[in-house]
Amino acid sequence: MISVVKVKIDGKVVEVEPGTTVLEAAEKAGIEIPRLCVVPGLYEGSSCRLCLVKTPAGRLFPSCNYRVYRDEEFLASTPDLWEMRRVNFELLLKFHRIECWACERKSSCSLVELSKELLVDGIPVCSECPLPPNECLLLKGELCLGMIAQSGCNAECLVSGGECWGCRGPITREDILERAFTHYRELGFDVKEVIGKAEIYWNSAPGFATVKKVAERVAGRG
């Protein structure tokens, strides 16, 4: 039985014993492959499809599940792989009930990390805000646009004690906006007031029309 297998990933060769997954080999070679669903010993993975790697012949395999028993070569960072991972992650995000302002897990959420790594927008600033849900500025009457603003700025203003003005542009996903505006109304903010503040930065932003549409719909609910 061969005791050692040479795995070549993106040109880097690393030696592992047979039966290790390509993902473990990549970690050993210091190559970062995004992953989400594999939990060694608990779940075999191959569900989120973020860790797909390519053989030189072009066949795709989930690296979390593919065990090597002989010397093999893989490509883990070709542009089309990243593009596929990005689209795949966007699909995953689409059906996630995004409500970071009320989510306990927001400071340790792998979706937020992956969205940074894969350059996928659409997550509210609340996901990066240092204040836990029960200390949110909204509860103190401060009008913060974090719930409907694009994250990616590490909530710089929140960290420095200010509130978010949404300088990176609006969220355009209607279900998030729906929940956000309902939350604003529950806390006693007038929807027009929120739109007034958002106008400062978003007046000519393309997504602002959607924000206003949802705002009116929620406001109209009386």
């Binding site: 075999e44 191959s46 569900s47 989120c48 499809r49 797909l52 795709l60 395999f61 989930p62 599940n65 593919y66 065990r67 596929m84 689209v87 795949n88 699909l91 995953l92 689409k94 059906f95």
Partner: protein, 659 residues
């Protein structure tokens, strides 16, 4: 007589369940072999005669398959029983499977000594006495649909065509479906009489390796859709060291519009069981399973009865035919999930779990059912294997193309005159199948496209009908061979709606395990839904392609991997229809309800009120002129008025004219 071919002809025959004789099968027809006795030979000839013309020289065959039952075969059977009793006819009544010609269901086959065997089509229970009386009493066949052979003794014989000469029969090559509609599916004796089980006994003679060699030589490829060489699959599974091994017959046939496996299993189940036994023997598995679709219970009942019958006659169980090979089969009925057609999902279903496919490798050949080596073949593939072993590999290899050998059963449905299941050599062109066999489109309907391969296949435009039917060509044209379901789409169907239909199906059937398929298909569906509602935009199409590409390449199993094909092929060939929906907001085929309006042409309307009475949303009311008018705000566009109007006064408009 009460002796059957399966019994021992006399005491000299040494065959017994405890000590089966290896030449038992050959001996049934060309026996007796171990001793010479003219009386035994005569008994066989006489029994064969009885099987053909019934014990009393007259036989009435009533087809009892799902399709014929659906058209009233049950009532026809009772009508035949009553008629025979009332007319005091000396005739035996048996059941049979179905030829696959759905357009003549329910049919009846009458045969008698000295008379040509005649098939009567579209028989109603009330016609039965008249038909029996004409055939048996008046010996007149002029009203028959077709004759199996000419004898020259019946009147009107020349007026009725021979079955063999009819176009939809002559062009077929009934290789694996030869017994369908001919033998009684519940009688092992008739199967053996038709040459059945010669394959198995030859396999025992050759031994496992040589059997695999024979299958490899024949060039048989999987008929389930992937087209993986069957011999190779058996060889890999055989080489595995782990035991016990299993073989599974995939009778899940989830593709909508495909019923060739159902036809085979309901009409000739023993061929499948023989094939599975051969597979078990070749691989060294002692346990086989047949996984049958939930929506086809009769198929499961027939297979179960055949298994019990085979077990009773020593063709399943211990030391089959004295070969020392033990093998048994269990029929498992699925609980309704399209994904079970996928190998590893089927394994999970048999194990009693949710049918979640597993990532390959490891392939089922290495680690399949309960982690043991398993070979999974489609029932049609196994039927081919049995026939190849019986007839020899050369005969099979002579048919088909150089890359793909043999024949394939196709089901042609949709906008065709003769809906049915046809078996043709691989390489036959789609046009032959659709126009010559299935009779082309009915009057007033023009063929726009042909959808091949079910939800994993693609739509091929009418101008490519001359493409040959084989794996590689279809793949190149954006479709796949798949199970062999061919749905002919007329010009009154909208391609965007067809694409959306397939996505509705696959997104509902997605098992939910991996993201691209579970979420991607629903996103694609919502985009197509937007387009059919006239809200689609140009970059929606761009997103649609991008998501389709990701779903196709990143999905875990073939369901997700091939689900985008219908969309991608309609985008490739029918871009003009998408553009009409997006730019001009109209549906050229007048199908998408959001883009069309129903109106009543007041000249043609004869004010009969049928439409108003049937309208579920009570949107139609009488106007001053006495005629009827549709209130477009209430209309749910269900199309009832359009169908019930006796004078076709209701018409559909789309786009600008819809106003």
């Amino acid at each position: 007589m009460n002796w059957t071919l399966l019994d021992r002809c006399c005491e000299k025959c040494t065959h017994s369940p405890e000590k089966p004789c290896p030449d038992y099968i050959e001996c049934r027809l060309s026996g007796p072999l171990c001793h010479d006795d003219e009386r035994c030979r005569e008994m066989r000839r006489q029994r064969l005669e009885e099987l053909r013309y019934g014990e009393k020289g007259a036989k009435i065959k009533v087809p009892m398959a799902s399709c014929t039952l659906a058209t009233g075969a049950e009532a026809v059977y009772h009508a035949v029983e009553d008629a025979v009793k009332n007319m005091g006819l000396e005739a035996t009544i048996t059941i049979s499977g179905c030829h696959g010609l759905d357009f003549i269901d329910p049919w009846l086959e009458l045969s008698a000594k000295g008379m040509p065997t005649a098939i009567y089509a579209n028989v109603k229970p009330s016609d039965v006495p008249r038909i029996l009386e004409e055939y048996f009493v008046k010996r007149d066949v002029s009203r028959a649909f077709a004759l199996k052979e000419r004898v020259g003794a019946a009147s009107g014989e020349d007026k009725v065509p021979l079955l063999g000469e009819l176009g939809f029969w002559a062009k077929q090559y009934k290789w694996v479906s030869r017994n369908c509609g001919v033998v009684n599916p519940e009688s092992l004796e008739e199967y053996v009489a038709s040459g059945g089980y010669r394959g198995l006994s030859r396999a025992f003679k050759l031994g496992p390796e040589a059997t695999i060699e024979e299958i490899l030589k024949s060039g048989l490829r999987g008929r389930g859709g992937a087209g993986f060489p069957t011999g190779m699959k058996w060889r890999i599974t055989r080489q595995q060291k782990a035991t016990p091994k299993y073989v599974i017959a995939n009778a899940d046939e989830g593709d909508p519009g495909a019923f060739m496996n159902r036809l085979l299993a309901e009409s000739d189940p023993f061929r499948i069981i023989e094939g599975l036994t051969i597979a078990g023997y070749a691989i060294g598995a002692n346990q086989g399973y047949i996984f049958v679709r939930a929506e086809k219970p009769l198929m499961a009942k027939r297979l179960q009865k055949a298994v019990e019958e085979a077990r009773r006659c020593g063709l399943l169980g211990k030391n089959i035919l004295g070969s020392g090979f033990d093998f048994d089969i269990e029929v498992i009925l699925s609980a309704g999930a399209f994904v079970c057609g996928e190998e590893t999902a089927m394994i999970a279903a048999i194990e009693g779990k949710r049918a979640w496919p597993r990532q390959r490798p490891p392939y089922p050949a290495e680690k399949g059912l309960w982690g043991k080596p398993t070979a999974i073949n489609n029932v049609e593939t196994l039927a081919h294997a049995a026939t190849i072993m019986a007839e020899g590999a050369e005969k099979f290899a002579a048919i088909g193309t150089e890359k793909t050998k043999g024949t394939k059963m196709f089901c042609v449905t949709g906008a065709v005159k003769r809906v049915g299941a046809y078996e043709v050599p691989i390489g036959t062109s789609i046009r032959v199948l659709v126009e010559e066999l299935a009779g082309g489109a009915p009057e007033g309907v023009k063929v726009k496209a042909v959808q091949i391969g079910g939800p994993s296949g693609g739509c091929i435009p009418a101008n490519l009908l001359d493409l040959p039917l084989d794996y590689e060509t279809l793949q190149g044209a954006g479709a796949i061979m798949g199970s062999g379901g061919i749905v002919v789409i007329g010009h009154e169907n909208c391609m965007v709606d067809v694409a959306k239909f397939f996505l509705t199906f696959t997104s509902a059937e997605s098992c939910g395990k991996c993201i691209p398929c579970r979420v991607g298909l629903r996103v694609m569906w919502s985009i197509l839904d937007k387009i059919t509602k006239g809200e689609g935009t140009e970059e929606d199409l761009q997103v649609l392609r991008q998501v389709a590409e990701t779903v196709r390449s990143a999905s875990l199993c073939a369901l997700g991997g091939t689900a985008p094909n219908p969309v991608l092929s309609t985008l490739r060939y029918f871009m003009d229809e998408y553009a009409a929906h997006i730019r001009e907001k109209l549906c050229p085929a007048l199908v998408c309800s959001a883009l069309i309006k129903y109106r009543i042409d007041e000249e043609k309307c004869i004010a009969c009120g049928q439409c108003a009475m049937n309208c579920p949303a009570s949107a139609i009311s009488k106007i001053e002129s006495g005629k009827y008018r549709i209130d477009e705000s209430l209309c749910i566009k269900c199309g009832v008025c359009y169908t019930v109007c006796p004078v076709k006064a209701v018409y559909k408009v789309t786009g600008a004219r819809a106003g």
